[in-house]
């Protein structure tokens, strides 16, 4: 049995979702993967960083978090106000970085990741900031320290796309990706296809918790841009900046445009795309990156992906088109992506 000591920074929906899986799947992980995973530290904004050498009681920690109480109430923990200091002092085998995405400077996640890698910890993250803004630096650091940095959950949550392309399709040369990578806008466009106006659809998405009070990051395409940057780095090995991605959101799309598209047997979707312009995988080919509404014919596998579902179509030399459709958000789905990454780290996949 291989013992893995885990640290989780950021204990909101995502961090708690993973902790829940670690608790409910503890026996399965032992039996099927020969892994004994213990959670040695957790950090959140309310409580700072708590650590317990022999492992935290996950149900107890989840209860404290649900009651919005300080995690320091867990018996027998050592406490640091500053997570960076706590992490630097304690360490572990794997850091799970689950603080909220910040697309301005990727903090505090990027600092957590830098420290963990420097201490020789593998890192798995659901936080889009570090991968979108600093993939180059972080992967170089990981190589230097001989550890893995994995981020399956940053794109389509736990629906396996990054691992499917990098490992499942190993050896193939990918020349294009096209995806529906933002569930909020897809929900809105689907509701508009059913007859709602943009305003009605947005209000509906907000009422269901799919859109935030300030929906800018989703409806203006910034979230999809972040995922596009991550895919550019992980699939094409290209370090793009946010400004390199041609971006158009869905706020100016009208019900009439959506309905007219339907009459022509098309569906308007917010499509994130990456395309090697020379049409091959030569290092020098330019990579075009774009997030914009597109009218897709019904024969396109992305056209029928409705509601909050996400999808990605991969074009490669050996496989024409492969499309993966699945959930793009959610507590269990995001936790699943982190869990698969943790297992991959334990297996020693690179």
């Amino acid at each position: 049995m291989k013992r893995l000591r885990l640290s989780i920074t950021g204990f909101g929906t995502v961090g708690q979702g993973l902790a829940e899986l670690l608790s409910t799947k503890h026996a399965l992980l032992q039996q099927e993967y020969n892994l004994d995973i213990i959670l040695v530290s957790v950090a959140n904004a309310r409580s700072g960083f708590i650590y317990r050498e022999n492992g935290l009681d996950i149900p107890a920690i989840l209860e404290l978090a649900a009651a919005r109480r300080s995690l320091t109430a867990h018996p027998g923990v050592t406490h640091w106000e500053n997570p960076l200091e706590g992490l630097r002092t304690t360490g572990g085998d794997i850091l799970v970085e689950a603080t909220p995405t910040n697309l301005h400077d990727a903090e505090p996640g990027i600092s957590h990741i830098r420290i963990a890698i420097s201490k020789g910890m593998h890192v798995v993250t659901a936080n889009k900031g570090p991968g979108a803004l600093a993939a180059d630096e972080l992967f170089a650091l990981a190589r230097q320290h001989g550890v893995q940095l994995r981020m399956e959950s940053t794109v389509m949550a736990g629906t396996p796309v990054i691992s499917t392309i990098r490992e499942g399709m190993a050896g193939a040369s990918v020349h294009a990706l096209r995806g529906i990578l933002n569930g909020t806008t897809n929900y809105i466009l689907t509701a508009m296809a059913a007859g709602q106006s943009y305003g009605e659809a947005l209000a509906d998405a907000q009422a269901r918790g799919y859109a935030e009070t300030d929906p800018t990051a989703d409806v203006e395409g910034f979230d999809a841009v972040a995922k596009t940057l991550i895919l550019a780095a992980l699939i094409f090995g290209r370090s793009l900046k946010p400004g390199d991605v041609i971006r158009q959101g869905v706020t100016t799309i009208t019900r009439e445009q959506v309905q007219q598209a339907i009459e022509q047997d098309n569906r308007i979707k917010l499509v994130a795309s990456l395309r090697l312009l020379a049409g091959d995988a030569r290092q020098e080919a330019a990579l075009e990156a774009r997030v914009a509404p597109v009218a897709l014919p019904l024969s396109d596998p992305l056209a029928r992906v409705d509601g909050v579902m996400n999808a990605l179509t991969v074009s490669a030399d050996t496989l024409s088109e492969v499309t993966i459709i699945g959930p793009g958000a959610g507590r269990a789905a995001t936790g699943q992506g982190l869990l698969a990454d943790i297992i991959a780290c334990a297996r020693g996949q690179v």
Copy 2:
């Protein structure tokens, strides 16, 4: 650089397709995967088994095969009439088993695989016979010898489904699979949806090389049954027999039934399915296995998968439904699946 010595038994479309990829991707495999793959032996029915310590010249071997000449014409090779003897005497790091599928006794593939594993070779195979009829025995043998046995290409060719479920979704508990796993019947049903009769559609599929002169294995569902047995073993860890799979082919489907389904916004597809009857992943739950035509509503992601494309929908505790759509056959696509498996063996994934 890690040097891998490869042996290929069976040098028809599949074996040649892989050899082609190994040749065209030799530099890429060195650069991106740090692998120097050399082909040390090849066997086919015409030539027996040829071996060359320092590696065969792949373009030369492909030329001989294309000209239907004996592979023994390759300079400097040692030759055995009997591939089993050749393999036993020479060995290598990985056996690629690509002889034709035989669903009666899995020969000669299963004998090649047994010998290779016993010699400590990893095995990757596109041959459905051994996995469908003897997965239990072969995986036990592989564990005993500490080697990997991988068979991505047996289901949906190189479209990554087995690795996506086992590795990309590691930690998830799968409770059901539903798939379009046979391209020939999907081509026929798609043509019938466009107005052809069964006979016309079959003749069309035969003319295009999608169906064989004796189409029984495809149209009666035996090919889909073999893939269902492989998925039962690899995803659910259950060893089913062909007779355990409820089977109905497409030969009795009429154009009228297909058209009537369309009028009701459904599509008739040959669906292979596996389902844990208790609805969870307990070891004791019964596994229902079925291959039969089903009328799917258009909201089903499988309904719009047309022509020779294949697809698989995975239902799991943490991911609701994930669907993977991609090519299910073809020289490059099948070679791709073998190549990804080879890279996974080299990486030491289990």
